[in-house]
Symmetry: C2
């Protein structure tokens, strides 16, 4: 990568970074209102680009920009669906191009996978799955050194694999998705139910940290001996392991990378994942390494920049 | 493909075909004893090659040979596991090379996927999943016009996706695999249980066709109005649809191809597959076409030949 800009758009926060080679030489972050939907997401991205390129006039027009978006993004940069931003069917590459940006849009968890492949836990690997466990669950699949975005941008959407048929309702509208049982919000929801039912450890943790129960509080209660909290965490990890065993039987990557705020919490989560993988005979045939992500909060901007670099190289070759 | 030989090794039968371009100009098939395990599978393959190349002296040594094997086959042609043949860890490419064959070994269901991609229901598609429902369930994934064999040959092994956690024991040793609930042998097993429990339709079908109940008999009983048989067939299709919805959320292929003796039986099986896919919100976002395989019994030899042709081209490019 020479000079490139990476933008990571979240549900209410956008981060941008200016790269010279692999080094971030300038970065910016800003919150935006949830009202900034649809077309105005273009302005949010333009501002984020401007924030890291302001001192170099007209730079934004010359530098390739990678944009990670929380939603289903097709190979040509159309956002088919981004529920948290209220976006449907927005040709974002084209919209940004009209504003003078050499933009290349990619799903945010796909971007995180590219970051791990390029300079993280998947460096030197030709194929990998990288799963990001945060409020939701995203993922990215790389095969033969190429991101699998899929025919409609659904590559790596392992948060929506059915792991508990007929189980809890997912934000996508289906039942029993991995995201509905193993994501940070699913762990928090189950923790709230346990606290409501009078789990003493969870209530102790709650007393110390006022506010809604989140996934970290459930992890903390599990460490303090709450059998109920441990059960919630272990089950979340087990379902993730079951989903990953399915990925092994579908594309059989060289390495499984687990990242995101929830999964980075500790071994509480990774151990049940490994244990569930061990239940699969085909997994045991040759154990695929399960490793923690290398990149943390920068995964999004790094991966978006890597995506732009690859897209520009491909464009150069085509022209 | 110019002149090439395809060999399709089953559990007790081997088929071979000599191709001139896309046309089969000679074919042979023979049964072999289940005792012919391990090293002697090499002799079975040599004989099958000889059977279609006998009139052209030393031809076998010059012509590339593709070999489809019922088992887990790594990218370098090592059979890690072929339970029905009692094979473990056999470097079959190398063993056949030592016998003078330019052999390229591939998993049989992966071969079927290549056949569909090359000249079947996936012609012109860059990515697909092809699932073969017979006695067992195999599959093959193609992405960016390349077969995904995976880091240990497990690419496309969707018969071993967990669809019914804690469910019936699979031949692989795990529980609740797709193969354990939706394969021909799983449908037959459930039919036998229903007949044992006194299902009248199934017992009528049994009376007409003596012998063990097979999947076709369960389909027939379902058509004649057996609620129990229809339930078995619909559940088998539903689980397959659930597994395929997972594939859509992992690699999102352009087309889903369903083949194999059981699935080709009729719409009894395909309709519940489509219905289960419709339960997935991400599937509904853009419906991936679900089509029947084009090739029937020749899929194995055609796909093995395609695999050899691709491997030879790659070798030429490398040299």
């Amino acid at each position: 990568m020479s000079v490139i800009i990476g933008v990571d758009v979240g549900g209410s926060h956008v981060t941008s970074a200016l790269f010279h080679g692999e080094a971030i030489v300038r970065r910016a972050g800003t919150s935006f209102s949830h009202g900034s939907h649809g077309a105005s997401i273009v302005q949010v991205i333009l501002d984020a680009v401007q924030a890291v390129s302001a001192t170099e006039a007209r730079m934004a027009a010359r530098v390739p920009v990678g944009v990670g978006m929380p939603g289903i993004v097709t190979g040509d940069g159309t956002v088919l669906l981004a529920p948290n931003l209220g976006i449907r069917n927005l040709a974002l590459n084209d919209a940004l191009l009209r504003e003078g940006l050499r933009a290349h849009v990619v799903n945010d968890a796909n971007a995180a996978a590219l970051a791990e492949w390029y300079s993280g836990a998947g460096r030197g690997r030709g194929s990998l799955i990288c799963v990001t466990v945060g409020t939701g669950i995203g993922g990215g699949v790389i095969i033969d050194d190429r991101l699998v975005s899929g025919s409609a941008g659904r590559g790596g959407e392992i948060g929506h694999l059915t792991v508990a048929p007929g189980g809890p309702l997912c934000s996508c509208g289906s039942r029993g998705c991995l995201e509905a049982v193993s994501s940070g919000s699913a762990i928090a929801r189950q923790g709230q139910e346990a606290a409501h039912a009078g789990d003493p450890c969870l209530n102790d943790v709650c007393a110390e940290r006022p506010g809604m129960i989140d996934a970290q509080m459930v992890f903390e209660a599990a460490r303090r001996g709450s059998a109920r909290a441990r059960q919630i965490v272990e089950r979340a990890g087990r379902y993730l392991g079951q989903a990953l065993a399915g990925v092994v039987c579908t594309v059989d990557p060289e390495v499984i990378i687990i990242g995101g705020g929830v999964a980075m919490a500790g071994d509480d989560f990774i151990e049940p994942v490994r244990h569930a993988l061990e239940q699969s005979s085909l997994y045991r045939l040759r154990r695929t390494p399960v490793v923690r992500a290398y990149h943390a909060t920068d995964a999004g901007v790094i991966g978006a920049a890597v995506h732009a670099a690859i897209a520009e190289r491909v464009l150069r070759e085509v022209r």
